[in-house]
C-alpha cells in the first residue's frame, strides 16, 4: 500500500499524530471519486474478495457432492447444481422456465413491483412516524404501546384478515409486505432519533434555532444512519413477507413460482426461483445502501479517512 498510495498513507499517519494542517490539505484534495477508487483498490488488495469466491465455491461444491456424487438419501429429491444451471440457461427448458422465457421476467417484475410499492409506502409512513416517536415523548406514550403490541404479530397471521379487508389478490399481498417493512423502518428511525447526542440538540438551541429548526437540522440528519440501517432491514423483510403472501394468493411472482413448481414437481424451477429471489433481494438491498451512502456523504468520507470517531 505504501509505495502505491503515498498520499493516503500520509493522511492516516498525520491524522493519528494530530498534525492537522497537512491532513486537512490532503482531505480537501480528495474528491469523492478518489475516495471510492481508494476503497475499491483496498478491497481488491485485501483477502476479502477471494475469500468470498472461495465461500461460494465451497457452497456449490458441497451441494454438488451431496446431491450428484454421494447421492445422500436426504438429498435424493433435490436437483443438483448442474440440473438447475442447465435448466436455467436452456433455450428450451424441460419445465418451461429459463432465462429465455419472458414469463421468468414477468415473475421477477411482478414481485419487484409489489416490494417496491410496499417498501415506498412503509418508508413514507414509517420514517415520519419514527421521527415523531423519537422526538415527542408525549406522542410516544400514546402510540408506542400499541405499536409494540402489533409488532410481534407475524405477517402470516395477518393473511386471513388481509384477504377479508382488501379486494383482489394484489392489495392483500402488498399490505402484508408493507407490514413487516413498516415495523422495521419505524423502530429504527425512532432509535435513530434517540441515539442523537444531546449536545447536538443543545448546540442548535444555543445557536438560536427554534424547535422546528432543530427538528430539520439536527433530528432528521442525525437519525439518518439509523434510518438507512432500518431501510436495509426493511427491504429484506419485505421480500420475506412478500413470498409468504404470494404463496397464499396471487398469479405471478417469485413466491408463487416457487410454490407452484413445488406442487407440480418441477424441482429445478423451484430452485431457480429461490436463487433468483436471493439475487434480486441482494440487489435491492445494495440499492438502498448506495442511496444511503449518497445521502450521507459526511459519513462515507468520515469512514474513508479511516477514522472510527
Amino acid at each position: 500500500m505504501k509505495e502505491l498510495e503515498p498520499s493516503y498513507a500520509a493522511v492516516g499517519v498525520n491524522v493519528a499524530a494530530g498534525d492537522a494542517a497537512l491532513a486537512s490539505d490532503e482531505a480537501a484534495r480528495m474528491s469523492r471519486f478518489e475516495v471510492a477508487a481508494y476503497r475499491l483498490s483496498q478491497w481488491l488488495r485485501s483477502p476479502r474478495p477471494y475469500l468470498m469466491l472461495l465461500g461460494f465455491t465451497l457452497f456449490i461444491g458441497f451441494w454438488y457432492l451431496t446431491v450428484e456424487v454421494w447421492k445422500l438419501p436426504r438429498f435424493v429429491q433435490m436437483p443438483g447444481p448442474t440440473a438447475v444451471i442447465e435448466e436455467w440457461l436452456s433455450p428450451d427448458p424441460t419445465y418451461g422456465l429459463s432465462i429465455y422465457s419472458p414469463e421468468y421476467y414477468q415473475h421477477i417484475w411482478v414481485s419487484l413491483r409489489r416490494v417496491s410499492i410496499a417498501f415506498l409506502l412503509a418508508t413514507a409512513t414509517g420514517v415520519p412516524l419514527g421521527l415523531f416517536l423519537g422526538w415527542s415523548q408525549r406522542f410516544k406514550e400514546y402510540v408506542f404501546p400499541v405499536f409494540e403490541l402489533l409488532r410481534p404479530i407475524p405477517p402470516l397471521a395477518w393473511v386471513p384478515l388481509a384477504i377479508i379487508m382488501f379486494q383482489g389478490s394484489e392489495t392483500p399481498i402488498i399490505f402484508l409486505t408493507f407490514l413487516a417493512s413498516f415495523y422495521a423502518t419505524t423502530l429504527n428511525t425512532m432509535l435513530g432519533v434517540e441515539s442523537i447526542d444531546v449536545s447536538f440538540v443543545r448546540a442548535a438551541y444555543c445557536l438560536g434555532a427554534k424547535r422546528r429548526q432543530v427538528f430539520w437540522h439536527v433530528v432528521v440528519p442525525g437519525a439518518m444512519p439509523f434510518i438507512f440501517t432500518g431501510l436495509q432491514i426493511s427491504v429484506g423483510v419485505a421480500w420475506f413477507s412478500l413470498v409468504a403472501g404470494e404463496m397464499v394468493s396471487g398469479q405471478y411472482g417469485l413466491g408463487y413460482l416457487i410454490n407452484t413448481s413445488y406442487t407440480m414437481v418441477q424441482y429445478p424451477t423451484m430452485v431457480i426461483g429461490m436463487i433468483t429471489l436471493g439475487v434480486v433481494g441482494y440487489v435491492t438491498s445494495a440499492g438502498v445502501r448506495i442511496v444511503g451512502n449518497y445521502m450521507m456523504q459526511w459519513r462515507a468520507r468520515e469512514l474513508a479517512m479511516g477514522g472510527d470517531q
Binding site: 443543545r202 445557536l207 438560536g208 434555532a209
Partner: protein
C-alpha cells in the same frame, strides 16, 4: 456580589490588555452574576445537592476559569447559565437581565451565551462552512449570502480557510474545536461557555489551542466562562480562577491572576506563574482529597 462585601482575597482585576480590541463595543458587556445558586437533583429533601449557595461574578470581557474536582458540579453551573438545566433556588444574571431565578427556574438557551462542548458538537452532517453559518441563518439575523460571507471571513481569520467544504469528521479534533469557537463567535455572543473543551486533546495540540484561544479572545474581548481541571491551563488562560469545593460546589478560593494579556508560553516558566500554580494546587488538592474520601464513603 452586590449585597455582600467583597472577600479579602478579591483583588482588583488586571488592567485590560494593551492590544486594541477589534470591536470596541461598550454596550456588549456580558457580566454574569451568580447569586446564591442552589441545585438539587431529585427531590428537595432526599436529592443530591450539586451546587450549594454558590455566589461569584464572571467579569465582563475577561476569562474566568472554574476549576474543581471532577463531579463537583461545575458543569451543572454551566448548564444553568446556558439554559439546559433549571436551578433550585438563587439567581443568575447576565448584565441587567435575570436569566433564571425565582419564578423562572430555567433560562432560555440563546445565542448571547454559546456553549462549546466537552466532546465537541459540530454537526457531523454539515460541512464546516454550513456549521459556521448555521447560527445567523436559523436566527434570521443575516440572510444566507451575508452569513456565508461572514462565515468565510471568520474561518479565514482563524486560519481555517481551506476547510470550508470538509465535514467535521475529516479534520483533526484540534481543528474542530477552533471551528466550533468560530461558529460561536459568528453570533457575537456576550458570553462563551467552554466546558472542558480541550480535555480530549493531547498536550501538544492543547498548547496550540490555548494560544489560538487567547488570540481569538484578544480580538473579540468576549466574556469567557471556562471549565477545566487542568490547573496550568486555568492559570495560563484566566484573568480570574475560581476554585470550587467538592460536591456540593461553591467557590473555595477566587484568584485574580495578575499576569497581563496577551500571554504566551513564556509565562509558564515565570516565577509568578509558579506561585499562582502552587497556591491553586494546594487548594485543589485539599478538595480532591475530600472528594476522594467522600467517594470511598459512598461506596
Amino acid at each position: 456580589m452586590t449585597s455582600e462585601p467583597a472577600p479579602a482575597y478579591e483583588q482588583p482585576i488586571a488592567p485590560p490588555a494593551p492590544s486594541a480590541p477589534r470591536r470596541p463595543d461598550a454596550s456588549r458587556k456580558g457580566q454574569i452574576r451568580i447569586e446564591n445558586v442552589v441545585k438539587i437533583y431529585g427531590s428537595q429533601t432526599a436529592g443530591i445537592c450539586a451546587v450549594d449557595k454558590c455566589s461569584f461574578d464572571v467579569p465582563a470581557g475577561k476569562i474566568t476559569v472554574v476549576v474543581g474536582p471532577s463531579g463537583c458540579g461545575k458543569t451543572t453551573l454551566l448548564n444553568a447559565i446556558a439554559g439546559f438545566h433549571s436551578i433550585t433556588s438563587g439567581r443568575i444574571r447576565l448584565d441587567d437581565a435575570v436569566l433564571c431565578g425565582p419564578g423562572q427556574p430555567k433560562a432560555d438557551p440563546g445565542p448571547d451565551r454559546i456553549v462549546v462542548f466537552q466532546n465537541g458538537a459540530l454537526f457531523p452532517w454539515k460541512t464546516i462552512i454550513d456549521n459556521v453559518a448555521f447560527g445567523p441563518v436559523v436566527q434570521g439575523r443575516l440572510n444566507r449570502r451575508e452569513s456565508y460571507e461572514k462565515a468565510r471571513a471568520m474561518l479565514a481569520e482563524a486560519g481555517l480557510r481551506n476547510l470550508e467544504s470538509n465535514y467535521p469528521g475529516e479534520i483533526s479534533s484540534g481543528m474542530r474545536r477552533r471551528v466550533e469557537i468560530a461558529r460561536a463567535l459568528m453570533n457575537d455572543p456576550k458570553v462563551l461557555l467552554l466546558d472542558e473543551p480541550y480535555r480530549a486533546l493531547d498536550s501538544l495540540t492543547k498548547s496550540v489551542m490555548h494560544e489560538a484561544l487567547l488570540e481569538t479572545f484578544d480580538r473579540n474581548q468576549v466574556t469567557v466562562f471556562f471549565i477545566t481541571h487542568d490547573l496550568e491551563e486555568a492559570i495560563f488562560l484566566g484573568h480570574r480562577v475560581v476554585i470550587m469545593t467538592t460536591r456540593p460546589c461553591r467557590p473555595k478560593k477566587i484568584l485574580n491572576v495578575d499576569i497581563p494579556h496577551p500571554r504566551d508560553y513564556s509565562v509558564l516558566t515565570a516565577k509568578r506563574f509558579r506561585e499562582y500554580l502552587d497556591e491553586t494546587v494546594q487548594a485543589v488538592h485539599e478538595e480532591a482529597l475530600k472528594a476522594f474520601a467522600a467517594g470511598e464513603r459512598e461506596r
